[in-house]
């Protein structure tokens, strides 16, 4: 304690502390700011990955998105889409698309994670964009579950419903269910805004916020139903259907039994 106090009085202390403070601020800023972190994370891709990705892209994606990923009349440009967009679209089976339409349906995933990474690396090499998260960014062990619920209800429930079951959007499109979404997909969806979904940047919904939301969605996926059978968590519609069909049905069967003459 004494030695610490003594050193603090040293004239150089002020300079060192200032430098340390700046460094720390910079580090935190780098972690928080989406643009910076996107570029930082993308640097981990190897040259081989980028090369492989380029080949895979040329085979599977270029017919719509163009050989250079510049897009076409039927597909958007991928320059600046970032690795996160590739990861989300391909790992959920939305891409490659069978036929152009207003909303890409979820199909079977046809690429391995390594292949997806390679394509992501190539798209990331075109221009900076939202990057796939590191494992540390998806670590929800310290996330605040209740805060995640609040943020989910404010930012997500209006489309995906309180239970994460999805909901209707305009003209035949829909917000998908989140029941099968992985933490990585939840994250990449938020930063890239696929299809109708708007982008929730890391500046307005910080990494910590996103971790809380991911934790909340994971709790929804756990199928905890304190009261019993959830009836698909569709709210009063299924409850009403149930009471009309099964509930009333059961009581009418008893009523008929009461009325039938015994043998």
């Amino acid at each position: 304690m004494n030695s610490m106090a003594a050193r603090r009085r040293h004239p150089a202390t002020l300079v060192v502390m200032l430098l340390l403070g700046l460094l720390a601020t910079g580090a935190i800023y780098a972690a928080v700011d989406s643009g910076t972190s996107a570029q930082a994370a993308d640097q981990k891709w190897s040259e081989t990955q980028v090369e492989t990705g380029k080949k895979l892209f040329a085979e599977g994606c270029s017919s719509c998105h163009g050989l250079g990923g510049q897009g076409s009349s039927i597909a958007p440009t991928l320059i600046g889409a970032g690795s996160a967009a590739v990861d989300f679209q391909v790992s959920t089976g939305r891409m490659p698309l069978a036929a152009p339409g207003s909303q890409a349906p979820v199909k079977g995933v046809i690429y391995s994670q390594a292949e997806i990474d390679a394509m992501a690396a190539w798209v990331a090499s075109l221009a900076p964009g939202p990057a796939v998260p590191s494992d540390a960014m998806l670590d929800t062990s310290k996330a605040d579950l209740a805060m995640g619920g609040e943020l989910f209800r404010t930012n997500c429930a209006q489309c995906h419903s309180f239970a994460g079951k999805g909901g209707a959007l305009s003209d035949g499109t829909a917000a998908p269910t989140l029941m099968n979404a992985t933490p990585r997909q939840i994250y990449t969806a938020m930063v890239t805004g696929p299809a109708s979904m708007p982008v929730f940047s890391n500046a307005t919904l910080t990494i910590e916020d996103k971790q809380s939301i991911i934790k909340w969605i994971s709790s929804l996926q756990a199928n905890d139903n304190p009261g019993g059978l959830s009836l698909s968590r569709l709210g009063p519609v299924t409850e009403g259907l149930f009471v009309w069909v099964i509930g009333l049905g059961a009581l009418i069967i008893v009523a008929i039994w009461i009325g039938v003459k015994a043998k």
Partner: protein
């Protein structure tokens, strides 16, 4: 006589010495109730109401009707530290910290759904069988009142926990109140003690939910049942049943055991549902705040039609000077709802005026025998169904992968087009069923077996009508439409009452004009004599046929053909 029975007798004696109720008791215990499953639907409603009173009383022990904001620190971890109203927190407390509290909540909510389902189907039964006719019109009106109150009570009840779903419902209700011309804004400010949501609405709603409406319902139910008791129950047509009697079982012991037992069954089924099926998981919805909403926000089923009507009404709003009329909300939520309940309550009087039927009715109509009424009823169900579908248009869109916009456009048309089609189809079906009844009386039941007589003629075998079936058909009342009177009197002067009379006659014709009259007693007699003859002849042929069948039987078992010599008339 067992000791128990003796003791009961002694108690009756003790009571009678003080109250003099022996004659009443004698009459009551002997009171006859007809037995039919559809007569139990009203009982489900009554029993659900009792279950609601019991479970609701439990819930009041812990529920705090307060909108004061607190921070939750109870045992439901996912909401730990979240700001919420005391009402919501106490509902979480009931669900997660009171043993059996969640069960009580779920019983209460399932029972509420049962209450409204049962009232609805009971009302449909009464409607389609014409049980509302003289002398029971007053009980119908009371029933319509009970249904209306039940819907309000249900809405008040599920709004109390102040969760995100019900809060959204309250917000919509406030928007509807605001849309009432002239008074709306002030009404809203009075109800909420100022702006939405304020701090007072839930405490106020609580009093309405636990005292005011249940009190009125209890009083109405009592009178409703006293009238059923006093007027005696209606019965379906059948053997030995006339307008002047009731055929069934006496209150003591059979009806008491059956109806009493049924109470326990209803309570049991409700409790079993509450044991294994989640209802209204308010913890999953989250606490109400006016800036959050969930996709797929729906009201309970009995409000769904109203929400549906609001969804499909086009965006009409009139601005006259400084004032606005929001037809897009006022029309479906206030005008339509008011019109529907008024029409419901007034129906017996409308039908009586239109048909001029002033007789007492204790034997129920089979729905086919009142085709226009039945068609009107099914049409109303169709209309209600269209609104219901509209209320769930978003769930339908996602479930069946359709466009919500297309569904809405289609429903805007369907709500007007589908019900009349349903009316026409239902009426046709009823009339053909009447015709079939008519034929059954004359020719018996078509067996579906075709016979070729030895002369080469093909005939269908008709079996004689069973006594029960015959009695059912014969119980029909042939209504005759009111005759069209001349619009002018004998001097050629227009009758001032002529227009109304003509309208009424037209209405009556519309109502009863297509009626298929029962054959006369003489026709039936002749037909029966004829049928007996036919039957005899047919049976001769059938016997021949059977004989052949028997003789051919060995063919199936062995290649040896034999038995041709056997007597074709043997059995």
């Amino acid at each position: 006589m067992s000791a128990v029975v003796k003791a009961g007798g002694a108690l009756a004696e003790y009571t009678d010495e003080r109250l003099g109720i022996a004659p009443f008791m004698k009459r009551s215990l002997n009171k006859v109730f007809p037995d039919h499953w559809s007569f139990m639907l009203g009982e489900i409603a009554l029993y659900s109401f009792i279950i609601l009173l019991l479970s609701g009383t439990y819930l009041t022990l812990w529920f705090k009707p307060s909108m004061t904001e607190i921070v939750y620190n109870g045992s439901y971890v996912p909401l730990d530290g979240v700001k919420m109203s005391e009402a919501y927190a106490s509902t979480l407390n009931i669900s997660f910290d009171v043993r059996g509290g969640l069960l009580m909540r779920q019983i209460h909510h399932w029972a509420a759904l049962f209450f409204l389902v049962a009232m609805t189907v009971h009302m449909l039964r009464v409607f389609f069988t014409g049980a509302f006719r003289k002398p029971r019109e007053l009980n119908w009106v009371m029933g319509a009142g009970l249904l209306t109150l039940g819907i309000l009570e249900g809405f008040a009840g599920y709004s109390l926990p102040d969760d995100l779903l019900s809060g959204t419902g309250l917000r919509i209700a406030e928007g509807i109140v605001l849309a009432i011309p002239i008074l709306g804004t002030w009404l809203s400010f009075l109800l909420f003690n100022g702006e939405f949501p304020g701090l007072d609405f839930i405490p106020r709603l609580y009093t309405v939910h636990v005292l005011l409406i249940p009190g009125i319902i209890l009083a109405l139910v009592t009178v409703h049942l006293m009238l059923v008791w006093h007027q005696k129950h209606t019965q379906y047509p059948g053997p030995g049943r006339t307008e002047k009697n009731v055929v069934g079982f006496p209150l003591l012991p059979v009806y008491m055991a059956k109806a009493g037992g049924f109470f326990f069954v209803v309570f049991g089924v409700t409790t079993l549902m509450a044991a294994i099926i989640t209802i209204n998981p308010i913890w999953a919805f989250g606490p109400y705040t006016p800036d959050q909403v969930s996709a797929g926000s729906q009201p309970d089923w009995y409000m769904g039609w109203l929400d549906g009507a609001v969804r499909i009404t086009p965006n009409w709003e009139w601005n006259i000077g400084n004032y606005s009329i929001s037809w897009n909300i006022f029309l479906p939520a206030v005008v339509l709802a008011g019109a529907i309940f008024t029409a419901l309550g007034a129906y017996p009087f409308i039908e009586r005026w239109a048909t001029g039927d002033n007789r007492e009715h204790h034997i129920l109509d089979r729905p086919r025998n009142a085709p226009t009424r039945t068609a009107l009823g099914v049409m109303a169900i169709g209309f209600y169904g269209m609104l219901w579908i509209s209320g769930g248009n978003d769930i339908i869109a996602t479930t069946f992968d359709l466009s919500i916009n297309t569904i809405t456009y289609v429903l805007r048309v369907a709500v007007f087009v589908v019900p009349p089609i349903i009316f026409i189809i239902t009426k046709r079906i009823c009339l053909s069923l009447q015709r079939r009844d008519h034929d059954k009386l004359l020719h018996g039941i078509e067996s579906g077996n075709i016979l070729r007589t030895p002369e080469g003629e093909f005939i269908e075998i008709h079996l004689p009508l069973g006594d029960k079936e015959k009695a059912k058909i014969l119980g029909k009342v042939d209504h005759v439409p009111i005759a069209l009177e001349s619009g002018v009197d004998e001097n050629g002067v227009a009758n001032p009452k002529g227009r109304t009379a003509r309208l009424r006659a037209k209405f009556s014709h519309w109502f009863y004009g297509d009626n298929v009259y029962l054959p006369t007693a003489a026709e039936i007699e002749a037909a029966e004599a004829h049928a007996a003859h036919d039957y005899h002849e047919q049976h001769a042929v059938i016997d021949d046929f059977r004989g052949l069948e028997i003789t051919s039987e060995p063919v199936l078992h062995s290649p040896a053909i034999g038995g041709h010599e056997s007597n074709p008339h043997q059995h």
